[in-house]
């Protein structure tokens, strides 16, 4: 019986008996959204929980582009044919574009080696459509302004204003409960030891000690039982109003009355936003499924947003090169002359050189601002990481940095809000081409390692594997087969094209899944 946490301050009653012993179900496919029909009749009715945001609708596009599917044709509704033809013709005559009319802008910051997004519309768009980036003052989703406004409002009103649904609030509350539980448990333990000592020294009899102890043990029922408070943290924090979001197959059971009315030919229960205006312009105010934002509701607060969205170099390059929705500029420095630079946007080729240079520390800047692609070292950390990033993105995975779990990347099926990451990816270079065994190649590899011995040891692999099994993820080793540099390739060998795409086509990725094998458990 899964019990999603309440967004309001309702302290859950201690229910040790009817909670399932293993409430954590990381695989979303095995987390069926069932109502709770089995509550005993004499329990007081639960207060209504505030509904969380509808994640399946918010994050309905996996990439920050919009698609325009044709409406479905139902032979039993002749009007649907008219609708289909009308849409088709309008697409022919004035084709809508997949990219937003004004592209998003980001600024490259060499100090933090990342790309900063400051425009709030862009921040929301990039987070909602593909889970790119991280808010600098938040844990992942940029929610600092919401939390600040909520805090100010709460201070003003004293108490009782509904706190926003920000994740940090829930974590803070949960940590506070856990701390109180630990204090209580330590106190009980100390009491038990005291009584034991007293019995041994003959001060009190055994029966008296048992009587004294019975009162305490009832409060803290063993290790790990926090009553209801501890159970919260083990439930995946899905929005309570979006049960369909837990299906791994991207269930299309969304019921959105607003979009259903636009389609006359739709059967009930058969919607997934087929309107032509894709969500290229997600505006926070008009979206009915977004939680009430205290910052929007009280514009007199006037708190300047001090947070920005930070994109890693791979994410920024993917958005700029592969999708073409992001324009990256250098930060306008204060010492520029009055004559404006003709085109401040950096082209993907320039970006490639820039990011490759900044992927090592200290950055290996070249004299020319745009080094030709042929001179870039093919095993630079940026190229290895980007190749893996692009590979998994192009298969449909949502891939995010995994430094919190000691891996390079985490793979999510739909996104962090829907389910846990199932795989943690480690990127390892592989040198199989004969060039890398030659003298020049070996020298290149030695310099790249800084003189250290190449190859990781077994203890490191076991550490990472142990961390993954503790958090119920699977470790994936992604070997990236590094091609030889352009100048070393014989003239006859095909390169797969020119430009950045040609460079990326020369890599090859091979994945291995590592899992611990237990001899005791594999006997049958």
């Amino acid at each position: 019986m899964s019990q999603p946490p309440a967004a309001n301050d309702h302290p859950p009653a201690a229910l040790p008996s009817d909670q399932s012993p293993n409430p954590q179900q990381p695989e979303a496919a095995s987390n069926p959204p069932e109502p709770t029909p089995t509550s005993p009749p004499n329990r007081p009715p639960r207060p209504k929980k505030k509904k969380g945001p509808n994640y399946a609708l918010l994050h309905s596009s996996p990439l920050p582009l919009s698609t325009h599917p044709l409406p479905p044709f139902h032979p039993s509704h002749p009007l649907s044919l008219l609708h289909l033809c009308y849409t088709y013709l309008s697409h022919l005559l004035s084709p809508p574009s997949s990219h937003p009319t004004t592209l998003y802008t980001g600024y490259f910051s060499p100090q933090t080696r990342s790309v900063h997004i400051t425009d709030p519309r862009t921040m929301r768009a990039l987070w909602e459509m593909g889970f790119f980036g991280k808010g600098t003052l938040s844990r992942s989703e940029p929610s600092w302004l919401e939390r600040e406004s909520a805090k100010v409002l709460a201070e003003r009103a004293g108490e009782g204003v509904g706190r926003g649904g920000a994740a940090e609030e829930a974590t803070r509350r949960r940590r506070e409960e856990r701390r109180l539980f630990k204090l209580e448990r330590a106190r009980v333990e100390r009491g038990r030891i005291e009584r034991q000592r007293a019995v041994e020294e003959g001060r009190i009899t055994v029966e008296e000690a048992a009587r004294l102890g019975a009162g305490d043990e009832g409060k803290v029922g063993g290790d790990g039982e926090v009553g209801g408070g501890g159970r919260e943290e083990e439930q995946p924090l899905l929005g309570t109003g979006a049960p369909a979001a837990s299906l791994t197959d991207g269930g299309g059971q969304l019921l959105d009355p607003a979009s259903a009315q636009a389609e006359p030919s739709l059967a009930p229960g058969n919607t997934i936003a087929p309107t032509s205006t894709g969500p290229t312009e997600p505006s926070v105010n008009e979206n009915p499924t977004h939680p009430p934002n205290p910052a929007e509701q009280h514009p007199e607060l006037n708190i300047p947003n001090q947070e920005h969205l930070q994109l890693t170099l791979e994410e920024a390059f993917f958005l700029s090169f592969a999708l073409g929705v992001l324009e990256i500029r250098p930060y306008p420095s204060t010492t520029t002359s009055t004559t404006a630079t003709p085109d401040p946007n950096l082209t993907p080729t320039t970006l490639l050189g820039l990011f490759t240079a900044h992927s090592t520390f200290p950055p290996t800047l070249t004299p020319t601002p745009t080094p030709p692609i042929a001179t870039l070292p093919p095993d630079s950390p940026f190229l290895l990481a980007y190749t893996t990033y692009h590979h998994f993105r192009s298969l449909g995975w949502v891939i995010r940095p995994g430094v919190k779990f000691a891996v390079d990347y985490l793979l999510y099926n739909r996104g962090p809000v829907f389910s846990h990451a199932e795989f943690g990816v480690l990127v390892l270079p592989a040198y199989t081409h004969p060039y890398w065994s030659s003298a020049a190649g070996l020298e290149h590899r030695r310099k790249g390692n800084g003189g250290r011995r190449e190859g990781k040891d077994w203890w490191w692999l076991h550490c990472v594997n142990r961390v993954q099994s503790q958090v119920r993820k699977t470790l994936v080793l992604a070997f990236v087969d590094v091609p030889p540099p352009y100048c070393e390739v014989a003239a006859g060998e095909g390169e797969g094209g020119q430009g950045i795409a040609g460079l990326l086509r020369r890599y090859e990725i091979r994945e291995f899944v590592v899992k611990r094998w237990l001899a005791n458990r594999s006997r049958d």
Partner: protein, 422 residues
């Protein structure tokens, strides 16, 4: 709410399938209560984190220590029943036993043919069971075997000199190099560990050399060439009619962008344009004649073939395909394998694809080929299962599109779909 992984700190410890009780420190007090019976798996005792000066705690600790000392100082003796004598053969560093009885010998040892037998083809050849060094050591440790040094010419009426345990280790592991054997202490640790758990362990063909070249079962089967007589799908024609009008073939992209602005009907179209990086597909690696000369890397080869304890199909004469393949690695002297080592190891393993209609995560975790690495670090063995997964074969965007089409009757496939009973 935005990042479920961080919110959840698993409280219940590692998942149940990852707990291996043999790694936990046992509570020996149960042994003191039960003298000679077969042991049950011991439960973990309560763990205290600091001394708190109660007599109860120190008494418990003393009792546990005493129980452990008693258990370890138990004297191991040979059983009068099932007592077998074997004779050491110095030239081949093996031992032979004449007609040994007992269930253990049903799965261990070989009877050599007349040309292989070093002692020649005499009347005892059929009853002579030859035991490999690791088998002999395991049986001596266990107490079922008593190995004797070979008799000299002058005193062959007497009983021969018994070999001590130290002598056995010195000959069978220490003297392997002079006999061109390949048994090391690491390999013996893995062997004895698995045997104690009940598995049947045999040497693989690549025990001390490249072994047999990979046969056709190590590669994916060739695709069947069936002739499909012109099934021109109506829905396919309908879809191509309404296909995306965006800019041309992916090959001629201008250098700046992969996905040009245009009209896309579905996200699957966009994802298809993004596919750029090559990935190795295990289902397309077919057997070619020149691949037969691939040699396994010396550092990483299959060492043992292992069968499960309850295996019905194992017979000494015809063992059948093994359940697991184990490659023993010395964790102190080697580092993590490179791609060449892993791929040449994988080349020698048969091709076992996952079920086609399985769940996504199960298919990815199962992999198309798998092998178990036994990493031995000074006697402590850790097993890692490495599987060759092909993420590129499971395209998430197609799985989602398939589920959409199944639920809604197909976008644009309506005319053709009318007759198909949707």
């Amino acid at each position: 709410m935005a990042d479920m992984d961080e919110d959840t700190i698993p409280r219940s410890g590692p998942p149940a399938e990852d707990i291996d009780l043999s790694e936990e420190t046992q509570d020996f007090r149960f042994l003191a209560a039960v003298s000679n019976e077969d042991a049950k798996i011991p439960k973990r005792g309560e763990k205290d984190f600091e001394p708190h000066a109660t007599a109860l705690q120190s008494n418990t600790l003393a009792a546990s220590r005493l129980a452990m000392h008693n258990a370890l100082s138990f004297q191991r003796a040979h059983q009068p029943k099932g007592y077998t004598t074997a004779t050491y053969h110095p030239e081949s560093n093996k031992a032979y036993a004449l007609n040994p009885k007992g269930p253990l010998f049903a799965k261990m040892g070989h009877v050599l043919s007349s040309k292989d037998d070093p002692l020649g083809d005499d009347e005892l050849r059929g009853n002579r069971l030859w035991l490999l060094p690791e088998e002999v050591l395991y049986l001596i440790e266990r107490g079922t075997l008593d190995v004797r040094w070979p008799a000299d010419e002058d005193d062959d009426d007497q009983e021969c000199l018994p070999m001590s345990l130290q002598g056995a280790y010195a000959m069978f592991i220490g003297d392997e190099e002079s006999h061109e054997g390949a048994l090391t202490f690491e390999r013996y640790s893995v062997y004895s560990g698995l045997k104690r758990m009940g598995y049947t362990v045999q040497r693989a063909p690549s025990w001390d050399g490249p072994g047999t070249p990979p046969g056709p079962d190590c590669y994916a089967p060739l695709p069947q060439q069936t002739w499909q007589p012109g099934l021109f799908n109506i829905s396919h024609w309908w879809k191509t009619l309404f296909a995306s009008q965006a800019a041309g073939t992916p090959e001629e992209q201008s250098g700046d962008q992969l996905v040009q602005p245009g009209l896309y009907r579905s996200y699957a179209d966009i994802y298809r344009r993004l596919s750029l990086v090559a990935w190795r597909d295990p289902t397309t690696a077919h057997m070619l004649s020149q691949q037969a000369t691939i040699l396994a890397d010396a550092g990483l080869r299959i060492t043992y073939h292992v069968w499960k304890p309850g295996s019905q199909t194992f017979k000494k004469s015809a063992p059948g395909p093994p359940d697991f393949r184990i490659a023993v690695v010395n964790g102190r002297e080697t580092s993590m394998p490179s791609l060449q080592q892993l791929s040449s190891l994988m080349d020698t393993v048969p091709y076992t694809p996952p079920k086609e209609d399985g769940q996504l995560y199960q298919k990815l975790r199962y992999g198309y080929k798998n092998v178990i690495l036994a990493v031995v670090d000074q006697g402590v063995v850790s097993y890692l299962r490495i599987a060759d997964a092909a993420f590129g074969r499971e395209r998430l965007y197609e799985r989602k599109a398939k589920s959409f089409n199944g639920k809604r009757g197909g976008r644009g496939g309506g005319r053709g779909g009318r007759g198909r009973g949707r």
